[in-house]
Protein backbone atom coordinates (compact mmCIF):
# COMPACT_ATOMS: atom_id res chain seq x y z
CA UNK A 1 0.00 0.00 0.00
CA UNK A 2 2.76 2.42 0.94
CA UNK A 3 4.36 1.90 -2.44
CA UNK A 4 1.20 3.32 -4.03
CA UNK A 5 1.52 6.46 -1.95
CA UNK A 6 5.22 6.80 -2.69
CA UNK A 7 4.67 6.10 -6.39
CA UNK A 8 1.87 8.66 -6.62
CA UNK A 9 3.94 11.24 -4.80
CA UNK A 10 6.91 10.73 -7.10
CA UNK A 11 4.81 10.95 -10.25
CA UNK A 12 3.02 14.10 -9.10
CA UNK A 13 6.22 15.71 -7.84
CA UNK A 14 8.04 15.09 -11.11
CA UNK A 15 5.07 16.30 -13.13
CA UNK A 16 4.56 19.39 -11.00
CA UNK A 17 8.24 20.26 -11.17
CA UNK A 18 8.41 19.94 -14.94
CA UNK A 19 5.27 21.97 -15.47
CA UNK A 20 6.45 24.49 -12.89
CA UNK A 21 9.69 25.00 -14.77
CA UNK A 22 7.83 25.42 -18.07
CA UNK A 23 5.52 28.01 -16.52
CA UNK A 24 8.39 29.83 -14.82
CA UNK A 25 10.24 30.11 -18.13
CA UNK A 26 7.03 31.16 -19.88
CA UNK A 27 6.31 33.87 -17.34
CA UNK A 28 9.79 35.31 -17.97
CA UNK A 29 9.53 35.03 -21.75
CA UNK A 30 5.99 36.36 -21.95
CA UNK A 31 6.49 38.96 -19.27
CA UNK A 32 4.33 42.06 -19.61
CA UNK A 33 5.38 45.24 -17.86
CA UNK A 34 2.29 46.69 -16.29
CA UNK A 35 2.37 50.19 -14.91
CA UNK A 36 1.13 49.90 -11.29
CA UNK A 37 -0.67 53.21 -11.75
CA UNK A 38 -3.01 51.58 -14.30
CA UNK A 39 -4.47 49.40 -11.59
CA UNK A 40 -4.78 52.34 -9.20
CA UNK A 41 -6.57 54.46 -11.80
CA UNK A 42 -8.78 51.51 -12.68
CA UNK A 43 -9.83 51.28 -9.05
CA UNK A 44 -10.76 54.95 -8.99
CA UNK A 45 -12.88 54.66 -12.13
CA UNK A 46 -16.52 53.64 -11.63
CA UNK A 47 -16.04 50.10 -12.95
CA UNK A 48 -19.43 50.05 -14.65
CA UNK A 49 -17.77 49.38 -18.04
CA UNK A 50 -20.51 51.49 -19.63
CA UNK A 51 -18.37 52.47 -22.60
CA UNK A 52 -19.23 56.14 -22.14
CA UNK A 53 -15.63 57.04 -22.90
CA UNK A 54 -15.82 55.18 -26.21
CA UNK A 55 -13.27 52.61 -25.06
CA UNK A 56 -13.72 48.94 -24.25
CA UNK A 57 -14.42 49.37 -20.56
CA UNK A 58 -12.81 50.97 -17.54
CA UNK A 59 -9.58 48.94 -17.73
CA UNK A 60 -8.96 50.21 -21.25
CA UNK A 61 -9.75 53.76 -20.16
CA UNK A 62 -7.33 53.46 -17.23
CA UNK A 63 -4.59 52.31 -19.58
CA UNK A 64 -5.15 55.26 -21.90
CA UNK A 65 -5.32 57.76 -19.07
CA UNK A 66 -2.02 56.56 -17.60
CA UNK A 67 -0.40 56.49 -21.02
CA UNK A 68 -1.42 60.12 -21.41
CA UNK A 69 -3.48 59.43 -24.53
CA UNK A 70 -6.63 60.58 -22.79
CA UNK A 71 -7.54 63.01 -20.05
CA UNK A 72 -9.25 61.66 -16.92
CA UNK A 73 -12.24 63.71 -18.00
CA UNK A 74 -13.04 61.21 -20.77
CA UNK A 75 -14.93 59.30 -18.13
CA UNK A 76 -18.29 61.04 -18.01
CA UNK A 77 -19.54 58.94 -15.12
CA UNK A 78 -16.70 59.57 -12.68
CA UNK A 79 -17.47 61.87 -9.76
CA UNK A 80 -15.43 65.03 -9.17
CA UNK A 81 -13.67 63.52 -6.14
CA UNK A 82 -12.50 60.43 -7.99
CA UNK A 83 -11.42 62.54 -10.93
CA UNK A 84 -9.42 64.83 -8.66
CA UNK A 85 -7.75 61.80 -7.13
CA UNK A 86 -6.80 60.51 -10.57
CA UNK A 87 -5.30 63.89 -11.44
CA UNK A 88 -3.36 63.85 -8.22
CA UNK A 89 -2.15 60.30 -8.80
CA UNK A 90 -0.83 61.22 -12.22
CA UNK A 91 0.64 64.49 -11.00
CA UNK A 92 -1.53 66.56 -13.29
CA UNK A 93 -3.38 69.70 -12.38
CA UNK A 94 -7.05 69.24 -11.86
CA UNK A 95 -9.44 71.12 -14.06
CA UNK A 96 -13.11 71.66 -13.60
CA UNK A 97 -15.21 69.60 -15.95
CA UNK A 98 -18.80 70.46 -16.41
CA UNK A 99 -21.44 67.80 -15.88
CA UNK A 100 -23.21 66.54 -18.96
CA UNK A 101 -26.61 65.02 -19.45
CA UNK A 102 -28.59 63.26 -22.19
CA UNK A 103 -31.34 65.39 -23.73
CA UNK A 104 -34.08 64.74 -26.25
CA UNK A 105 -33.84 66.69 -29.49
CA UNK A 106 -37.25 65.71 -30.83
CA UNK A 107 -40.60 66.72 -29.42
CA UNK A 108 -42.75 64.76 -31.83
CA UNK A 109 -43.92 61.54 -30.20
CA UNK A 110 -47.68 61.15 -30.41
CA UNK A 111 -47.88 64.70 -31.78
CA UNK A 112 -45.98 63.55 -34.85
CA UNK A 113 -48.14 61.77 -37.39
CA UNK A 114 -47.54 58.16 -38.43
CA UNK A 115 -47.35 57.60 -42.13
CA UNK A 116 -47.70 53.84 -41.85
CA UNK A 117 -48.17 51.09 -39.31
CA UNK A 118 -45.02 49.26 -38.34
CA UNK A 119 -45.17 45.60 -37.32
CA UNK A 120 -41.53 44.62 -37.39
CA UNK A 121 -38.82 44.16 -34.79
CA UNK A 122 -39.36 46.49 -31.83
CA UNK A 123 -36.18 48.40 -32.41
CA UNK A 124 -35.65 51.89 -33.82
CA UNK A 125 -32.59 50.82 -35.79
CA UNK A 126 -34.60 48.15 -37.58
CA UNK A 127 -37.63 50.41 -38.06
CA UNK A 128 -35.76 53.22 -39.82
CA UNK A 129 -34.48 50.78 -42.44
CA UNK A 130 -37.98 50.33 -43.85
CA UNK A 131 -39.26 53.33 -45.81
CA UNK A 132 -37.35 55.74 -43.54
CA UNK A 133 -39.38 54.56 -40.55
CA UNK A 134 -43.06 54.68 -39.59
CA UNK A 135 -43.14 58.40 -38.69
CA UNK A 136 -44.19 60.96 -41.26
CA UNK A 137 -41.19 63.06 -40.22
CA UNK A 138 -37.93 61.52 -41.35
CA UNK A 139 -35.99 63.27 -38.62
CA UNK A 140 -38.25 62.25 -35.76
CA UNK A 141 -37.84 59.93 -32.82
CA UNK A 142 -39.31 56.54 -33.73
CA UNK A 143 -40.11 55.82 -30.09
CA UNK A 144 -39.37 52.07 -30.17
CA UNK A 145 -37.12 52.40 -27.10
CA UNK A 146 -33.71 51.41 -28.44
CA UNK A 147 -32.27 54.06 -26.13
CA UNK A 148 -34.26 52.72 -23.18
CA UNK A 149 -32.72 49.30 -23.70
CA UNK A 150 -29.25 50.69 -24.33
CA UNK A 151 -29.21 52.74 -21.12
CA UNK A 152 -27.13 50.84 -18.54
CA UNK A 153 -28.53 52.95 -15.70
CA UNK A 154 -32.26 52.67 -16.45
CA UNK A 155 -32.41 56.43 -16.73
CA UNK A 156 -34.67 56.56 -19.79
CA UNK A 157 -38.33 55.64 -20.06
CA UNK A 158 -40.97 56.12 -22.74
CA UNK A 159 -43.60 58.56 -21.51
CA UNK A 160 -47.27 58.86 -22.38
CA UNK A 161 -46.33 61.21 -25.19
CA UNK A 162 -44.49 58.36 -26.96
CA UNK A 163 -41.11 59.99 -26.40
CA UNK A 164 -38.14 58.87 -24.32
CA UNK A 165 -37.67 60.85 -21.11
CA UNK A 166 -34.39 61.13 -19.28
CA UNK A 167 -34.41 60.84 -15.50
CA UNK A 168 -31.80 63.49 -14.73
CA UNK A 169 -30.72 62.07 -11.37
CA UNK A 170 -29.90 58.71 -12.94
CA UNK A 171 -28.29 59.91 -16.16
CA UNK A 172 -24.51 59.67 -16.08
CA UNK A 173 -24.00 61.04 -19.59
CA UNK A 174 -22.34 57.83 -20.70
CA UNK A 175 -23.64 58.38 -24.23
CA UNK A 176 -24.92 54.85 -24.81
CA UNK A 177 -28.31 56.22 -25.95
CA UNK A 178 -26.69 58.71 -28.31
CA UNK A 179 -24.70 55.98 -29.99
CA UNK A 180 -27.64 53.64 -30.41
CA UNK A 181 -30.15 56.21 -31.72
CA UNK A 182 -30.43 55.93 -35.51
CA UNK A 183 -31.95 59.41 -35.78
CA UNK A 184 -29.58 61.25 -33.49
CA UNK A 185 -32.45 62.76 -31.55
CA UNK A 186 -31.03 62.02 -28.13
CA UNK A 187 -27.71 63.64 -27.36
CA UNK A 188 -25.35 64.21 -24.47
CA UNK A 189 -24.78 67.89 -23.84
CA UNK A 190 -23.59 70.12 -21.00
CA UNK A 191 -26.24 70.15 -18.28
CA UNK A 192 -26.06 73.93 -17.93
CA UNK A 193 -27.55 74.39 -21.41
CA UNK A 194 -31.07 74.83 -20.14
CA UNK A 195 -32.38 76.17 -23.43
CA UNK A 196 -32.38 73.98 -26.51
CA UNK A 197 -34.29 73.38 -29.72
CA UNK A 198 -36.30 70.18 -29.46
CA UNK A 199 -36.44 69.47 -33.18
CA UNK A 200 -34.06 68.08 -35.79
CA UNK A 201 -36.24 68.47 -38.86
CA UNK A 202 -34.81 70.19 -41.90
CA UNK A 203 -38.15 69.90 -43.69
CA UNK A 204 -39.82 73.10 -44.89
CA UNK A 205 -42.09 74.81 -42.38
CA UNK A 206 -45.21 73.97 -44.30
CA UNK A 207 -44.43 70.25 -44.26
CA UNK A 208 -43.51 70.28 -40.58
CA UNK A 209 -46.68 72.16 -39.68
CA UNK A 210 -48.76 69.49 -41.34
CA UNK A 211 -47.20 66.45 -39.68
CA UNK A 212 -45.94 67.61 -36.29
CA UNK A 213 -47.45 69.57 -33.43
CA UNK A 214 -44.15 70.76 -32.02
CA UNK A 215 -41.68 70.81 -34.91
CA UNK A 216 -39.67 73.87 -35.92
CA UNK A 217 -41.40 75.62 -38.81
CA UNK A 218 -38.54 78.06 -39.40
CA UNK A 219 -40.69 81.15 -38.69
CA UNK A 220 -37.63 83.07 -37.44
CA UNK A 221 -39.47 84.67 -34.53
CA UNK A 222 -36.81 83.40 -32.16
CA UNK A 223 -34.16 84.94 -34.37
CA UNK A 224 -35.83 88.35 -34.09
CA UNK A 225 -36.39 88.03 -30.35
CA UNK A 226 -32.88 87.00 -29.37
CA UNK A 227 -31.04 89.88 -27.66
CA UNK A 228 -27.57 88.49 -28.37
CA UNK A 229 -28.03 87.17 -31.91
CA UNK A 230 -27.39 83.61 -30.78
CA UNK A 231 -30.19 81.74 -32.55
CA UNK A 232 -30.47 81.39 -36.31
CA UNK A 233 -32.60 79.40 -38.66
CA UNK A 234 -30.23 77.34 -40.76
CA UNK A 235 -31.64 75.00 -43.39
CA UNK A 236 -35.19 75.31 -42.00
CA UNK A 237 -34.17 74.60 -38.42
CA UNK A 238 -33.45 76.96 -35.53
CA UNK A 239 -29.94 76.41 -34.20
CA UNK A 240 -28.56 77.97 -31.02
CA UNK A 241 -24.97 79.16 -30.89
CA UNK A 242 -24.04 78.39 -27.29
CA UNK A 243 -20.94 80.57 -27.49
CA UNK A 244 -23.27 83.57 -27.60
CA UNK A 245 -26.41 82.28 -25.87
CA UNK A 246 -27.10 83.72 -22.43
CA UNK A 247 -29.91 81.22 -21.71
CA UNK A 248 -32.44 84.01 -21.22
CA UNK A 249 -35.23 81.84 -22.64
CA UNK A 250 -36.86 84.62 -24.68
CA UNK A 251 -36.82 82.48 -27.80
CA UNK A 252 -38.69 79.72 -25.98
CA UNK A 253 -41.35 82.22 -24.94
CA UNK A 254 -42.09 83.46 -28.46
CA UNK A 255 -41.87 80.11 -30.23
CA UNK A 256 -45.35 79.50 -31.67
CA UNK A 257 -44.90 75.72 -31.75
CA UNK A 258 -43.18 75.37 -28.36
CA UNK A 259 -40.24 73.80 -30.14
CA UNK A 260 -37.68 75.50 -27.93
CA UNK A 261 -37.37 74.23 -24.39
CA UNK A 262 -36.48 76.53 -21.51
CA UNK A 263 -35.84 74.21 -18.61
CA UNK A 264 -35.58 77.00 -16.04
CA UNK A 265 -38.88 78.54 -17.09
CA UNK A 266 -40.48 75.13 -17.00
CA UNK A 267 -39.15 74.48 -13.51
CA UNK A 268 -40.37 77.89 -12.37
CA UNK A 269 -43.81 77.10 -13.75
CA UNK A 270 -43.85 73.72 -12.06
CA UNK A 271 -42.86 75.31 -8.76
CA UNK A 272 -45.58 77.92 -9.12
CA UNK A 273 -48.18 75.28 -9.92
CA UNK A 274 -47.15 73.33 -6.87
CA UNK A 275 -47.32 76.38 -4.65
CA UNK A 276 -50.70 77.26 -6.05
CA UNK A 277 -51.88 73.75 -5.37
CA UNK A 278 -50.51 73.85 -1.84
CA UNK A 279 -52.14 77.23 -1.28
CA UNK A 280 -55.37 76.10 -2.84
CA UNK A 281 -55.78 72.98 -0.78
CA UNK A 282 -56.23 74.41 2.69
CA UNK A 283 -58.70 76.95 1.40
Amino acid sequence: MSSFIIGSLIVMAVLAMLLGIVLAVASKVFHVDVDPRIEQVDELLPGANCGGCGLAGCAAAAEKIVAGDAAPSICPVCGDDARAEIYELLGMSSEETEPHIARMLCGGGTGCKDKEEYHGVEDCRAAVLIQEGPKACHFACVGLSSCVEACPFEAIFIGDDGLPHVIEERCTACGACERVCPRGVIAVMPAKRTVWVKCQSHDKGKVVNKICKTGCIACRRCEKECPVDAIHVIDNLAVIDYEKCILCGKCAKVCPKNTIVDLRARRRAEKKAKEAEAAGKPA
Binding site: S3, F4, G7, V11, M12, L15, A26, F30
Partner: protein, 217 residues
Protein backbone atom coordinates in the same frame (compact mmCIF):
# COMPACT_ATOMS: atom_id res chain seq x y z
CA UNK B 1 0.04 5.71 -39.11
CA UNK B 2 -1.50 5.52 -42.54
CA UNK B 3 -3.59 8.11 -44.30
CA UNK B 4 -6.81 6.20 -43.87
CA UNK B 5 -6.48 6.16 -40.10
CA UNK B 6 -5.69 9.87 -40.01
CA UNK B 7 -8.79 10.60 -42.09
CA UNK B 8 -10.84 8.36 -39.85
CA UNK B 9 -9.74 10.22 -36.73
CA UNK B 10 -10.39 13.55 -38.46
CA UNK B 11 -13.92 12.72 -39.59
CA UNK B 12 -14.77 11.00 -36.34
CA UNK B 13 -13.82 14.00 -34.22
CA UNK B 14 -14.96 16.73 -36.58
CA UNK B 15 -18.37 15.34 -37.43
CA UNK B 16 -19.45 11.90 -36.29
CA UNK B 17 -18.50 12.23 -32.63
CA UNK B 18 -18.15 16.00 -32.46
CA UNK B 19 -17.24 17.00 -28.91
CA UNK B 20 -19.89 19.65 -28.51
CA UNK B 21 -22.91 18.47 -30.42
CA UNK B 22 -22.50 14.70 -30.15
CA UNK B 23 -20.61 14.08 -26.93
CA UNK B 24 -22.04 17.23 -25.25
CA UNK B 25 -18.73 18.25 -23.71
CA UNK B 26 -17.49 21.81 -23.25
CA UNK B 27 -20.91 23.44 -23.38
CA UNK B 28 -19.97 26.23 -20.97
CA UNK B 29 -17.45 28.03 -23.21
CA UNK B 30 -19.57 27.03 -26.19
CA UNK B 31 -22.56 29.01 -24.92
CA UNK B 32 -20.50 31.67 -23.18
CA UNK B 33 -18.24 32.63 -26.05
CA UNK B 34 -20.27 31.95 -29.18
CA UNK B 35 -22.02 35.33 -29.36
CA UNK B 36 -19.31 36.89 -31.50
CA UNK B 37 -17.26 35.39 -34.34
CA UNK B 38 -13.91 36.84 -33.24
CA UNK B 39 -14.33 35.60 -29.70
CA UNK B 40 -15.47 32.21 -31.03
CA UNK B 41 -12.37 31.87 -33.20
CA UNK B 42 -10.09 32.96 -30.35
CA UNK B 43 -11.70 30.52 -27.97
CA UNK B 44 -11.56 27.76 -30.60
CA UNK B 45 -7.86 28.29 -31.24
CA UNK B 46 -7.06 28.43 -27.52
CA UNK B 47 -9.01 25.24 -26.85
CA UNK B 48 -7.46 23.49 -29.86
CA UNK B 49 -4.00 24.39 -28.62
CA UNK B 50 -4.72 23.23 -25.08
CA UNK B 51 -6.35 20.01 -26.35
CA UNK B 52 -3.39 19.20 -28.60
CA UNK B 53 -0.79 19.86 -25.95
CA UNK B 54 -2.88 18.11 -23.29
CA UNK B 55 -3.25 15.05 -25.56
CA UNK B 56 0.48 14.94 -26.06
CA UNK B 57 1.46 15.32 -22.42
CA UNK B 58 -1.28 13.15 -20.95
CA UNK B 59 -0.57 10.35 -23.40
CA UNK B 60 3.11 10.33 -22.37
CA UNK B 61 2.05 10.46 -18.75
CA UNK B 62 -0.35 7.62 -19.30
CA UNK B 63 1.93 5.36 -21.30
CA UNK B 64 5.17 5.87 -19.38
CA UNK B 65 3.99 6.46 -15.82
CA UNK B 66 0.47 5.35 -15.04
CA UNK B 67 -0.36 2.13 -16.90
CA UNK B 68 0.37 -1.20 -15.27
CA UNK B 69 3.89 -2.38 -16.02
CA UNK B 70 4.93 1.08 -17.25
CA UNK B 71 8.51 2.19 -17.75
CA UNK B 72 8.47 4.36 -14.65
CA UNK B 73 6.99 1.73 -12.33
CA UNK B 74 9.35 -0.95 -13.58
CA UNK B 75 12.46 1.20 -13.08
CA UNK B 76 11.46 2.52 -9.66
CA UNK B 77 9.71 -0.43 -8.04
CA UNK B 78 11.04 -3.27 -10.19
CA UNK B 79 9.06 -5.65 -12.38
CA UNK B 80 6.62 -7.90 -10.55
CA UNK B 81 6.04 -5.53 -7.59
CA UNK B 82 2.40 -5.05 -6.53
CA UNK B 83 2.26 -1.47 -7.72
CA UNK B 84 3.84 -2.32 -11.08
CA UNK B 85 1.19 -4.98 -11.64
CA UNK B 86 -1.71 -2.71 -10.68
CA UNK B 87 -0.51 0.60 -12.16
CA UNK B 88 -1.43 4.05 -10.90
CA UNK B 89 -4.37 4.67 -13.22
CA UNK B 90 -7.08 4.43 -10.56
CA UNK B 91 -5.22 6.76 -8.24
CA UNK B 92 -3.76 9.47 -10.41
CA UNK B 93 -5.58 9.81 -13.73
CA UNK B 94 -7.90 12.65 -12.77
CA UNK B 95 -5.57 14.67 -10.59
CA UNK B 96 -2.53 14.45 -12.84
CA UNK B 97 -4.52 15.25 -15.99
CA UNK B 98 -6.06 18.28 -14.32
CA UNK B 99 -2.61 19.46 -13.29
CA UNK B 100 -1.40 19.20 -16.87
CA UNK B 101 -4.44 20.98 -18.29
CA UNK B 102 -4.33 23.76 -15.72
CA UNK B 103 -0.66 24.42 -16.44
CA UNK B 104 -1.29 24.51 -20.18
CA UNK B 105 -4.13 26.97 -19.75
CA UNK B 106 -1.86 29.14 -17.63
CA UNK B 107 0.69 28.99 -20.41
CA UNK B 108 -1.86 30.02 -23.04
CA UNK B 109 -3.07 32.82 -20.82
CA UNK B 110 0.43 34.25 -20.45
CA UNK B 111 1.03 33.89 -24.16
CA UNK B 112 -2.19 35.69 -25.10
CA UNK B 113 -1.62 38.42 -22.54
CA UNK B 114 1.75 39.13 -24.09
CA UNK B 115 0.91 38.86 -27.78
CA UNK B 116 -2.87 39.26 -28.22
CA UNK B 117 -3.97 41.48 -25.32
CA UNK B 118 -7.28 42.43 -26.96
CA UNK B 119 -8.33 38.82 -27.23
CA UNK B 120 -7.08 38.23 -23.70
CA UNK B 121 -9.40 40.95 -22.44
CA UNK B 122 -12.33 39.86 -24.60
CA UNK B 123 -12.16 36.28 -23.36
CA UNK B 124 -11.94 37.32 -19.73
CA UNK B 125 -12.95 34.64 -17.30
CA UNK B 126 -13.67 32.07 -20.02
CA UNK B 127 -9.97 31.74 -20.78
CA UNK B 128 -9.20 30.57 -17.26
CA UNK B 129 -12.26 28.36 -17.41
CA UNK B 130 -10.70 26.20 -20.14
CA UNK B 131 -9.02 24.57 -17.13
CA UNK B 132 -12.32 23.11 -16.12
CA UNK B 133 -13.53 22.60 -19.68
CA UNK B 134 -14.73 19.03 -19.71
CA UNK B 135 -13.96 18.74 -23.43
CA UNK B 136 -10.23 19.03 -22.70
CA UNK B 137 -10.40 16.49 -19.90
CA UNK B 138 -12.65 14.42 -22.16
CA UNK B 139 -10.17 14.26 -24.99
CA UNK B 140 -7.39 13.30 -22.57
CA UNK B 141 -9.48 10.46 -21.17
CA UNK B 142 -10.72 9.33 -24.57
CA UNK B 143 -7.12 9.18 -25.76
CA UNK B 144 -5.99 7.02 -22.88
CA UNK B 145 -8.14 5.14 -20.40
CA UNK B 146 -11.39 5.34 -22.36
CA UNK B 147 -9.97 4.68 -25.83
CA UNK B 148 -11.58 1.72 -27.65
CA UNK B 149 -8.12 0.67 -28.80
CA UNK B 150 -4.63 1.99 -28.12
CA UNK B 151 -4.20 5.05 -30.35
CA UNK B 152 -0.48 5.56 -29.93
CA UNK B 153 1.10 8.98 -29.39
CA UNK B 154 0.44 10.22 -32.94
CA UNK B 155 -3.14 9.04 -32.78
CA UNK B 156 -3.67 10.78 -29.46
CA UNK B 157 -2.22 14.06 -30.68
CA UNK B 158 -4.25 13.86 -33.90
CA UNK B 159 -7.39 13.21 -31.89
CA UNK B 160 -6.54 16.26 -29.79
CA UNK B 161 -6.07 18.45 -32.87
CA UNK B 162 -9.26 17.35 -34.58
CA UNK B 163 -11.32 17.43 -31.39
CA UNK B 164 -10.23 21.06 -30.99
CA UNK B 165 -10.98 21.82 -34.64
CA UNK B 166 -14.39 20.18 -34.26
CA UNK B 167 -15.02 22.42 -31.25
CA UNK B 168 -13.92 25.48 -33.26
CA UNK B 169 -16.14 24.46 -36.19
CA UNK B 170 -19.25 24.22 -34.03
CA UNK B 171 -18.33 27.43 -32.18
CA UNK B 172 -18.11 29.26 -35.51
CA UNK B 173 -21.38 27.81 -36.78
CA UNK B 174 -23.04 28.83 -33.55
CA UNK B 175 -21.51 32.32 -33.61
CA UNK B 176 -22.93 32.80 -37.11
CA UNK B 177 -26.35 31.68 -35.96
CA UNK B 178 -26.30 33.79 -32.83
CA UNK B 179 -25.21 36.93 -34.66
CA UNK B 180 -28.37 36.55 -36.73
CA UNK B 181 -30.49 35.63 -33.71
CA UNK B 182 -29.66 39.06 -32.31
CA UNK B 183 -31.86 40.66 -34.93
CA UNK B 184 -34.78 38.28 -34.63
CA UNK B 185 -37.89 38.81 -32.59
CA UNK B 186 -37.24 36.07 -30.07
CA UNK B 187 -39.78 35.81 -27.22
CA UNK B 188 -38.21 37.46 -24.15
CA UNK B 189 -38.14 34.26 -22.11
CA UNK B 190 -36.05 32.55 -24.83
CA UNK B 191 -33.58 35.39 -25.33
CA UNK B 192 -29.89 34.61 -24.88
CA UNK B 193 -28.84 31.18 -23.63
CA UNK B 194 -32.21 29.34 -23.99
CA UNK B 195 -32.56 29.97 -27.71
CA UNK B 196 -28.86 29.15 -28.10
CA UNK B 197 -29.44 25.80 -26.43
CA UNK B 198 -32.43 25.14 -28.68
CA UNK B 199 -30.27 25.85 -31.73
CA UNK B 200 -27.55 23.60 -30.33
CA UNK B 201 -30.09 20.80 -30.00
CA UNK B 202 -31.19 21.22 -33.60
CA UNK B 203 -27.57 21.32 -34.69
CA UNK B 204 -26.92 18.12 -32.74
CA UNK B 205 -29.80 16.46 -34.59
CA UNK B 206 -28.32 17.63 -37.89
CA UNK B 207 -24.94 16.23 -36.91
CA UNK B 208 -26.59 12.85 -36.32
CA UNK B 209 -26.74 12.68 -40.11
CA UNK B 210 -23.01 12.01 -40.08
CA UNK B 211 -23.48 8.82 -38.06
CA UNK B 212 -22.07 5.81 -39.87
CA UNK B 213 -19.94 7.97 -42.15
CA UNK B 214 -16.70 6.26 -43.22
CA UNK B 215 -17.79 3.15 -41.33
CA UNK B 216 -17.65 4.94 -38.00
CA UNK B 217 -20.16 4.98 -35.40
Amino acid sequence: MNLQLILQIAILNLFVQNFVVQRFLGLCPFIGQSDDKHKAIGMGIAVTFVMTMASFVTYLLYAYFLVPDSWFLRTVFGPGAGITEAGLLDVLVTVSYILVIASLVQFVEMFLRRFVPTLYRAMGIYLALITTNCAVMGVALLNTTDAPQDLGLTGAVLQGVFAGLGFTLVMLLMAGIRERLEYLNVPPCFKGAPIAFLCTGLMALAFLGFAGMAGLG
